[in-house]
């Protein structure tokens, strides 16, 4: 188990949980990062942050500090 901010470009996996109860956590959940959801890391912005993922058939960008809240399981 690791966190989304540590994933490499091209890696995929499933969301395990989102930590916290604040705005950031609620927004991540609303955008579809619920437990069991598959994702793929599409890219990292040129300056090293934020990251771009594909989830539920669309593209989402989030900062690494926010991605660090998301516990994931990488698929091999």
């Amino acid at each position: 188990m690791s966190v989304l901010s540590d994933a490499k470009v091209g890696q995929g996996g499933v969301v395990v949980r989102v930590d916290g109860m604040d705005d950031v956590a609620i927004r991540l959940l609303e955008m579809g990062l619920t437990p069991g959801t598959e994702f793929e890391l599409i890219g990292i912005a040129p300056l090293g942050d934020p990251i771009e993922i594909e989830i539920r058939g669309y593209r989402l960008s989030l900062r690494k500090s926010e991605a660090a809240r998301v516990t994931i399981e990488l698929t091999a």
Binding site: L29, E30, Y58, R59
Partner: protein
Amino acid sequence: MPAESPPQTLTVALLGNPNTGKSTLFSALCGVRQRTGNYPGVTVEKKLGHAEFHWQPFTIVDLPGSYSLAPRSPDEMIAVDVLLGRQNAVDEPDAVLCIVDASNLERNFYLVSQVLELGKPTVIALNMVDVARDRGMTIDVDLLRNRLHVPVIEIQANRKWGLEELKQALVDTLKVKQTPPESPFPELFQAEVTKLETHCEQEFETPLPRYLVERLLLDTSGYLSHGGIREINDSIQTAISAARQRLAGAGMPVPAVEAMARYQWIGQLLDGVVQRPSSRPKSFSDKVDRVLTHRIWGTTVFVLLMIFLFQAVFWIAGPASDLIDWLKSHASNFVAAALAEGALQSLIINGAIEGVGGVLVFLPQIFVLFLFIAILEDCGYMSRAAYLMDRLMSRVGLSGKSFIPLLSSFACAVPGIMSARVIENPRDRLITILVAPLMSCSARLPVYTLLIGAFIPSQRVLGVFGLQGLTMFAMYAIGIVTAVFVTLVLRRTILKGATPPFVMELPSYKLPGLGIVLYRMLDRGWAFVRRAGTLIFAVTILVWAAAYYPRYEAAENPSEQLRHSFLGRAGQLVEPAVRPLGWDWKIGCAAIASFPAREVVIATLGVIYNLGEDEDEQSETLRETLRSATWEGTDKRVFNVPVALSIMVFFALCAQCSSTLAVIKRETNSWRWPAFTFAYMTGLAYVAAFLTYQIGSLFVG
């Protein structure tokens, strides 16, 4: 035949995720028949449109684009209040029109599932069915309709396709009663909501709608229970915490339970409705994205685009003001010929025509900038720009979305501030608006050019850099450094709070629609003229009066008259205050005259040093006059390098633009923020000019 009473106007609330074509649908339904205003106390724009279908009139309330109906700020509360009929500024909607992106149903239905819980008659507009088809998706609309028990209408808003059926469905909601769908939440959760609802009924005089009770239970951000809903008391707070504990114990932790329940409901709803190709082929949009977010290519394209955008606004500013000048001089000549010399003639020429010109001169810049922004937004690049710049902007506590408004402000703060609407977070938007006027705009350029040309020696530093060019660069740099400083201070003082989320959709690329792009451009231009235009006009008239009155009959030239006018007296009055900056009263007077619009300073200096009004910054005579100007009654020169620098620094930082202040008032819906901007910028400008002169004099003096 008995006369039928005209049908009641049907009020429809229009709601949808961002990037679903909501504005396109709104303008396709209402055309130009719309009104904009503000909701009291917030910065959300109130937008109402009118449409008709078979003599049935509609009022359509365009609510801000949103991913979720879960208010965590006063701005987000507006949509919920409107939908529940708790917002007095608009009528309670008879029906809700929810627009969804057919190519992205899963996430779009999150909002739909919340809307359905409101229990209002609902119609779902399935937009961009063509995009979904192109991606190889098929959608069984009949099955979806049967499962939801609400009308689902396929449309293509950009082609105005399906709108008749949509309006028919809205009219029908009045006749056919909809059965409210089952709650997506587990029974235990619903029981907790009911318990809390009963508790609220005992405590409050007017019952709280069930949807808000549910939100209270779910809102862990604390907004609703701490002010969002006024009536909440300690007893309710305790009940909420207890309920959350019981739910967590039962494996339904708040807030995750909501997203889990809704996405599970969506999964069941769409199972068998949406068929996707088994392996998703990389679409054209994906390939474009690979290039545009690439480390090297993406950055290159971005930099080129931004240079182009900035240059376009900058270039249009010159010819536009030339054109306005041309129009002004023709209009003035006409008036001068038609009217006898006197107060009325002067009022029309120097007040009214100047005032109208002062408003019109901004229009071409607003049009060009918003043409670009509308294209960038509509094709999907805008969020990529924010994605690319976020790291840089987050260093000072803003987000990538602030980049374009701030960049545009180097050309002109007026369109720059208006473009801050792309920032959803109210605090980030406000900070961006407050620091945007610090970016050196094109109107400061004549001041820099004049003073640098007259007083900064044309020599090289370290063999490569021209001293004049370096001074110009320093003026731009001082604005940026001050903006960073002000942002950091604001974020730690009056506008502090947690960093807002930067969780943002990167929509698919598409060709921008000509109609919606032109519509947004004209909409912004018109909004500026209507809301800021009157104020700019009024200020221009005031300054005219201050320079024209009281009349000094013995005046031999315009300079004498100006000296004896209210403006001239004000200049002499503030002389003690501007002496520490190295200025004489004439410079003080020119600075005061420039508060409505800083470009006035050149003409005022021309008049005050008795050269006539037609001086421009390139004029050799004006430069010579400034160089040889002396303190009154002495032969000591007024201007030297520290004085010139002190004037430039003052102009770089001071809020000398009534248009900017009028736009801040319009965008923040309050006088507080333009007043604040004026105070902090003028204060900083004074202190910085003081330091520049005093320190500079140590070296030169």
